[in-house]
Each structure stands twice: as structure tokens, then as C-alpha cells.
């Protein structure tokens, strides 16, 4: 007698289009900021984030949702590293050619009066103190982060902004957990010193 065995439909938790969209929407601003801290140029930072998003969707768009944060961070960090490599090659050529071209000092073209801030001028628009303090705090912290060495900033942001653990950070950065701890410790110390110099306490 033929017995029809019940079939069990087993499905894996893979990222759907809306889930991937939600993940990217939640991550893209931080990713842009990370890229901006690294390359100091808005357009380049946007290009880097766009490249990372495309690579994630094209190559790993069928992966489970919970694997996406690590994959995306790994792709993003690699894309930033590729940028540094290209920039290094470009700077060699620029240095070679700039020696042959006539020197043009752009600083002489700007009028210092255009950017001079006059505290005694009552006609200047008043700025709200609370918002200004917040903006200043953000500016100082971002400046301090930009000035960190690349690997220290990478480790620090992955650990304390992306909330990756040490093992995940090590996997993304392609180094040992010990190195991650060292990078984070140095970054924390450098940030504390830089912010202290600005009179900021956190």
C-alpha cells in the first residue's frame, strides 16, 4: 500500500527585498559617516557607500538577514581600503607631475575678511546656544575621530558605534582579537586626550 508521507516545508531565514531595504536604510547613514571620517570627502564617501551596497546586494543579497551586518561592514572596510590604495598610486603620479607644473597657491586667492568672524558685530545672526553646543560637540568628536590612525578609528567605530564584539571586529578587520583590543585602547586614549584639550567631558 502506498502511503503518502507528509512532506515538511523547511525554509531558511533569508533576507527578503524589504528586509534588505530595512537593513540598508538603518545602516546607510552610519556607513556614510564612517566613509567620510576615512576619506574626508562627501562625494567619495557616497561613492564608497554606494559600491558597498551594490556589492552586498549583488553577491550576498540571498544571505540570511542576521549575516548582513558583518558582511556589509567587511565590504565597506575593504572598499575604504581600496580607496586608500588607489589614492596612494594617484598621489605618486600627482607628486611627479606637480614638480613639472607651475605652482599655484589657492590660499592667496581667498580674502581673509570673507571668513573672519567678528564677535563685536551686533548685526550677526544670533545662534541658539543649546543647538550650537551640540553642533560644536559633534564637530569636535568628529574631528578627533578623523585624526585617528585608520586602523584605530576602524576598530573603535566597529566596537563602539556598530556594537560589534571583539571577535566580529577582528573578523571584519582581518586581524587578531588582541590587535583589536590594542587599537581600541589606543583610540580611546587618543580621543580622551583630544577632547580633554577642547575642554569636553564625556
Amino acid at each position: 500500500m502506498l502511503v503518502c508521507a507528509p512532506t515538511v516545508f523547511r525554509s531558511f531565514k533569508l533576507a527578503t527585498r524589504s528586509e534588505l531595504s530595512g537593513f540598508l536604510a538603518e545602516t546607510e547613514r552610519r556607513a556614510y559617516k564612517q566613509a567620510l571620517f576615512a576619506v574626508h570627502d562627501e562625494h567619495l564617501a557616497l561613492d564608497i557607500v554606494q559600491d558597498a551596497m551594490l556589492k552586498l546586494a549583488e553577491k550576498y543579497g540571498d544571505k540570511p538577514l542576521d549575516e548582513l551586518p558583518m558582511l556589509f561592514q567587511r565590504i565597506l572596510q575593504n572598499t575604504i581600503r581600496d580607496f586608500y590604495r588607489r589614492q596612494k598610486v594617484r598621489s605618486i603620479w600627482t607628486t611627479l607631475f606637480s614638480a613639472l607644473l607651475p605652482h599655484h597657491d589657492e590660499e592667496n586667492d581667498s580674502d581673509p575678511l570673507e571668513i573672519l568672524h567678528n564677535d563685536d558685530n551686533p548685526n550677526q545672526p544670533e545662534r541658539p546656544d543649546g543647538a550650537l553646543e551640540q553642533t560644536e560637540l559633534i564637530r569636535h568628536i568628529e574631528e578627533a575621530l578623523k585624526n585617528l590612525p585608520e586602523r584605530q578609528r576602524q576598530a573603535f567605530l566597529l566596537r563602539y558605534w556598530e556594537e560589534m564584539d571583539t571577535a566580529e571586529t577582528a573578523a571584519i578587520m582581518g586581524c587578531s582579537e588582541g590587535s583589536v583590543k590594542t587599537h581600541c585602547s589606543r583610540a580611546t586614549s587618543a580621543l580622551a586626550t583630544a577632547l580633554k584639550a577642547k575642554g569636553i567631558e564625556l
Partner: protein
């Protein structure tokens, strides 16, 4: 401020606030990048698997292939059925001819 008192976790909410203050042109470009990425999302190749109780399991086959296989099965089945039907029809015609004693000459030629 003592460096030992500095808590790196305290930077997170400040950076989050900074990320919320991005200008509209940047947000527009990020949105465009996200949309393009979603349009190129890789479709799952092994999204599901049919499994039977015990250690038996059927390998995953894409739904389109199942549909093609089913269609092919129907076509083959239909062709075989049609062939049998026409044979039966011929047989019935001969039976009627025998009964009515109107057999064609061809029958005696075999």
C-alpha cells in the same frame, strides 16, 4: 578629565545624533544608492528544501523547473492518451463493420 574616566560608549549617542543631521542631498543620494542596490539583489538560489520524515530529503528545485516538468509530463501523457484513443476508435470502427457485414476489401488483403 582623566583618560581612565572616559567611556567610549558615551560617544555612540552623539554620533547617532550626528548621523541624523545629514543634509537632504546626501540622504537623497543614499536613497538612490539603496534603491539601485535593491534592484540588483541576488535572488535566493537555495531558499527552500523539501524534506521527508527520516533522513530522506528531496533536493531543492526551483519552482519554474517544477512547472516545466509538470507541463512536459502532461504533454507526454496527453500524447499517449490520444494515441490510445485513436487506436480504440479504429478498433471500434472495425467491430461495427464486422457486425454490419460491411468490411472494407483492405481487411482481407492482410
Amino acid at each position: 578629565m582623566n583618560n581612565d574616566q572616559f567611556k567610549p560608549e558615551s560617544i555612540r549617542p552623539i554620533l547617532d545624533r550626528a548621523a541624523l543631521r545629514l543634509e537632504q542631498p546626501i540622504l537623497d543620494r543614499l536613497h538612490a544608492a539603496r534603491t539601485e542596490a535593491l534592484d540588483r539583489q541576488k535572488v535566493a538560489s537555495r531558499a527552500h528544501a523539501w524534506s521527508l520524515p527520516g533522513n530522506f530529503s528531496l533536493p531543492f528545485v526551483h519552482p519554474n523547473r517544477w512547472a516545466m516538468a509538470t507541463l512536459a509530463l502532461f504533454l507526454i501523457g496527453g500524447a499517449v492518451y490520444w494515441e490510445q484513443l485513436s487506436d480504440e476508435h479504429q478498433q471500434a470502427e472495425i467491430d461495427i463493420a464486422i457486425l454490419t457485414d460491411e468490411l472494407p476489401v483492405d481487411v482481407y488483403l492482410d
